[in-house]
């Protein structure tokens, strides 16, 4: 390969190279890092974040931004947990535990997430409020709704616990294949990632999403229904945050109204590091997954080698700034 081809390869695949280098560096420093346990832990920790980031990234690709993601995760975690308690649990959320079939709280939580998305989408599409502000509004309102619900009698803002094993199995159970066990949460994230890859690449909605982010005026001129497309995208993103909330509740076996706090910023950071353009129109599913993995590897790996959490924050921040600086360079060069 000539010099320019090497540099082209490096810029095109920078994100994956960073991931490999990061893993290699940590492994050299601490060879025990390369183990099945680490691998498994990283995948489990990444799974809900991948699902949330795939929703958040859709909105970034339309040149928007969704600040409500984290609070929707919190609301849906609380809703699904409150409806999935064991009847025998001594501190029930409801006086009389509803004892619903397992699938129903899941459907309800996803629908709640989609509803918040619908509200954000309507505000963005019809009131023409910039997404940053529109979702700032829905973010605050969602937290309010979540806290009101969480504070109802007899719960009075006590952490929700005692979830039924049929529910928590999604977060902590594994599929046993004999030679290896695969956590359900990872399987769920993989399936959703595949479905979202199809949505991004093989549907009219996905093509319209890239078109709106790439050149909104040309999208209008091409006769694309911009409002309907935006609303659909916010609804799908909301539903994905709902799945994220359910998995967070299932993984930890409980929920409080502060679940998901700041996840929206983690999702945006992962998407941006994974090559989603903040100015819209660019982003890939594998890139977003790699972006999430980078942050989990930093988190897990640096803890593994004994680095304090405050230093980790500084490194995370640096990576965000450097990633976007590199991203901007790509477009500057093209002018």
């Amino acid at each position: 390969m000539s010099g320019s081809r090497v540099s082209k390869f490096m810029t095109q695949n920078a994100i994956y190279i960073v991931l490999v280098v990061l893993v290699a560096a940590i492994s050299i420093y601490s060879p025990n890092f390369l183990s099945m346990t680490s691998f498994r832990d990283i995948l489990i920790q990444s799974s809900p974040r991948v699902i949330i980031a795939l929703g958040s990234a859709m909105i970034l690709i339309t040149a928007g931004c969704d600040l409500s993601a984290g609070r929707v995760v919190g609301l849906t975690a609380v809703v699904s947990a409150s409806l999935s308690q064991m009847p025998s649990y001594p501190h029930p959320f409801f006086e009389q535990a509803p004892n619903l079939p397992t699938f129903l709280p899941i459907i309800i939580a996803i629908a709640v997430g989609a509803c918040v998305g619908l509200v954000s989408g309507l505000i963005v599409a019809y009131l023409r409020i910039v997404p940053f502000i529109a979702t700032l509004g829905t973010m605050v309102m969602t937290y309010g709704v979540c806290s009101l619900y969480f504070d109802m009698e007899p719960n009075n803002s006590q952490p929700i616990g005692g979830l039924r094993p049929e529910f928590t199995v999604f977060g902590s159970g594994s599929l046993d294949l004999g030679f290896v066990t695969i956590p359900y949460i990872v399987i769920i994230a993989a399936v959703i990632a595949f479905v979202m890859w199809i949505v991004y690449n093989k549907t009219v909605l996905g093509k319209n999403m890239f078109a709106i982010g790439g050149n909104p005026q040309a999208a209008v001129v091409s006769g694309i229904n911009v409002a309907a497309t935006l609303i659909a995208i916010y609804v799908i993103a909301g539903a994905l945050y709902g799945v994220g909330g359910i998995l967070e509740a299932a993984r930890t076996g409980g929920a409080t109204n502060n679940y998901g706090n700041m996840y929206e910023l983690d999702a945006i950071a992962a998407a941006v590091v994974g090559g989603v353009s903040v100015t819209g129109g660019i982003g890939t599913v594998p890139g977003i997954i790699a972006g999430v993995l980078i942050f989990t590897v930093i988190n897990y790996g640096l803890t593994f080698v004994g680095m304090g959490p405050y230093w980790q924050l500084i490194i995370k921040g640096l990576i965000i700034v450097i990633a976007v600086a590199v991203d901007v360079r790509k477009y500057l060069a093209r002018k």
Binding site: I198, K202, T203, V204, K207, F210, A211, V221, S222, G223
Partner: protein, 503 residues
């Protein structure tokens, strides 16, 4: 001291595929008004951009007060006493008149170590400046409350405050009422008396003959000549502006117009200063050209036909039946396609590949039974477009932004042909495209008309209108001034109609 304050000598400037300026000269006397004239695309703005260092000329010199100068940016130009009043003004509407005037160079007052903006001095300076050029504006008024004419006066005051000795005015009267024009002329005369030289760009003949001392005419990037205004007449100017040989070749016309496809009656914009009472019809297989100067509202008319702009009044008939077109989606349902003037701003999706760009206007067509896109079919259609329109590209996965302007334009034409249109609205379809590709676009338009598609083509190039159209509708200032049969049309006739609506 030299007789001239400014001499631009033998300026040549090329862009890839186009020679925008070819050995153009301009000599400006102090205390005079020098009109710069030419059709759209003649090279007037390119020449001015060289003067302001926005472009660097390939050849030629700029001589100021007998000394050669290098102007690298508009800041340098301002420092040398050269200012420009742009056609479009961009004031900070939320700030006061005086804040706009002194933006970036507010007078400061020291309070010990602190330096704060001295509003008192700013107000006094502004008032003095307005008195000097005889303008009556309250320095503390918000810029957003002022008329275009007053905003323009502020720009002129700004130029005076920079001690400019040369002021360029680009179509200064295009949005002024006749009273306001009189006031502008008064200001210009007082500037002349102070020895300021003015380069005055306008299409309005009467105005030019009244206010200017000398006229320089350009055509197709060439310098035609400079004459004292009193030796010129409107007819002479028009003849010199357009009087070229038809150097461009057009493919032979093979289309035969048939029955009426589209008719519009009394189309009037909801905006005040846009088009009014426009009537015309379009036949099957016909190419209807629309001519006029910049600002004639031609784009607005066809964008209204496509549902991008709204009508206060008027009816649109397709195949004799009245239709309502309120959005581009409505227009698509009636088999209308629009190729916009601003290819980059409103046409291409720069980061997407050719397949996506080519199929974006009819994506739902490619859904299979389960609702997913059939990429194979999209590629087949794109390959067909690439070969039939002869689009030059390494492959169809290439991002459209890496293609040349002409090839991007062909992809956009292909995008609309995929929607199977009956009526094609083309807004300046060959703008920014090199000569060879132009010919190919012309051939495509002819072929489409021959196949029975109806075409409306806006063009600011006379030769293109004459060479491509069956009929030519000419607009001026939002009014349809007439429809000429292409056989009897001449550049002079078009120019006469195009300037008819100007005050």
């Amino acid at each position: 001291m030299s007789e001239y304050i400014l001499e631009m000598q033998h300026i040549t400037k090329s862009f890839p595929g186009v020679k925008a300026l070819n050995d153009v000269s301009l000599r400006l006397r102090p205390g005079s008004v020098h009109a710069l004239m030419g059709e759209n695309g003649a090279g007037k703005s390119t020449l001015m951009k060289c003067l302001f260092g926005i472009y660097k000329q390939d050849e030629g010199q700029i001589i100021l007060d007998g000394e050669q100068v290098e102007i690298s940016d508009s800041r340098t130009a301002l420092g040398l006493g050269i200012s420009m009043i742009h056609q479009e003004l961009y004031p900070v509407l939320q700030q006061t008149v005086m804040e706009n005037l002194w933006l970036g160079r507010f007078p400061l007052k020291s309070y010990g170590p602190l330096k704060l903006v001295d509003h008192k001095k700013m107000k006094a300076d502004t008032a003095a400046l307005f008195k000097e050029i005889d303008v009556d504006i309250d320095p503390e008024e918000l810029a957003g409350n002022l008329s275009v004419s007053k905003l323009q006066s502020i720009e002129i005051a700004k130029a005076v405050s920079h001690h400019s000795r040369i002021i360029v005015m680009d179509e200064p009267t295009s949005s002024l009422t006749s009273d306001e024009v009189e006031h502008l002329f008064k200001i210009i005369n007082s500037l002349k008396a102070k020895g300021v030289a003015i380069i005055y760009i306008s299409h309005k003949m009467e105005e030019i003959l009244r206010i200017s001392d000398e006229v320089t005419i350009m055509r197709d990037g060439n310098y035609i000549g400079t004459w004292p205004s009193d030796e010129l007449t409107t007819d002479l100017i028009i003849k010199r502006m357009v009087g070229r040989e038809m150097t461009q070749l057009f493919p032979e016309k093979t289309n035969v117009p048939g029955e009426e496809v589209l008719r519009v009656e009394n189309m009037t914009s909801i905006r005040d200063h846009s088009f009014k009472g426009v009537n015309f019809s379009l036949r099957k297989g016909e190419v209807l050209g629309i001519g006029g100067l910049v600002g004639a509202q031609r784009t607005e008319v066809i964008e209204a036909l496509f549902g991008l702009r709204h009508l206060a009044e008027g009816k649109i008939f397709i195949h004799g039946k009245e239709v309502k077109i309120r959005s581009p989606r409505d227009a698509k349902k009636h088999h209308i396609a629009l190729l916009t003037e601003e290819r980059r701003a409103t046409g291409i999706f720069p980061m997407l590949n050719i397949v996506d760009n080519n199929t974006m206007a009819c994506m739902p067509k490619y859904r299979n039974k389960v609702g997913l896109l059939n990429d194979r079919l999209r590629e087949i259609d794109t390959d067909e477009g690439v070969s039939s329109l002869r689009i030059k590209t390494p492959d169809t996965q290439t991002r459209i932004q890496s293609l040349s302007g002409g090839n991007q334009q062909k992809v956009l034409i292909s995008r609309w042909l995929n929607t199977n249109p009956e009526i094609l609205l083309l807004d300046e379809p060959t703008r920014g495209i090199d000569v060879g590709a132009k010919y190919e676009i012309y051939s495509i338009i002819n072929r489409l008309a021959t196949q029975g598609k109806s075409v409306i083509m806006i063009s600011s190039e006379m030769s293109e209108l004459l060479g491509m159209s069956d009929r030519i509708m000419v607009m001026s200032n939002g009014i349809m001034e007439g429809i000429l049969d292409a056989k009897d049309a001449t550049e002079e006739k078009i120019m006469e109609l195009a300037t008819a609506g100007l005050v």
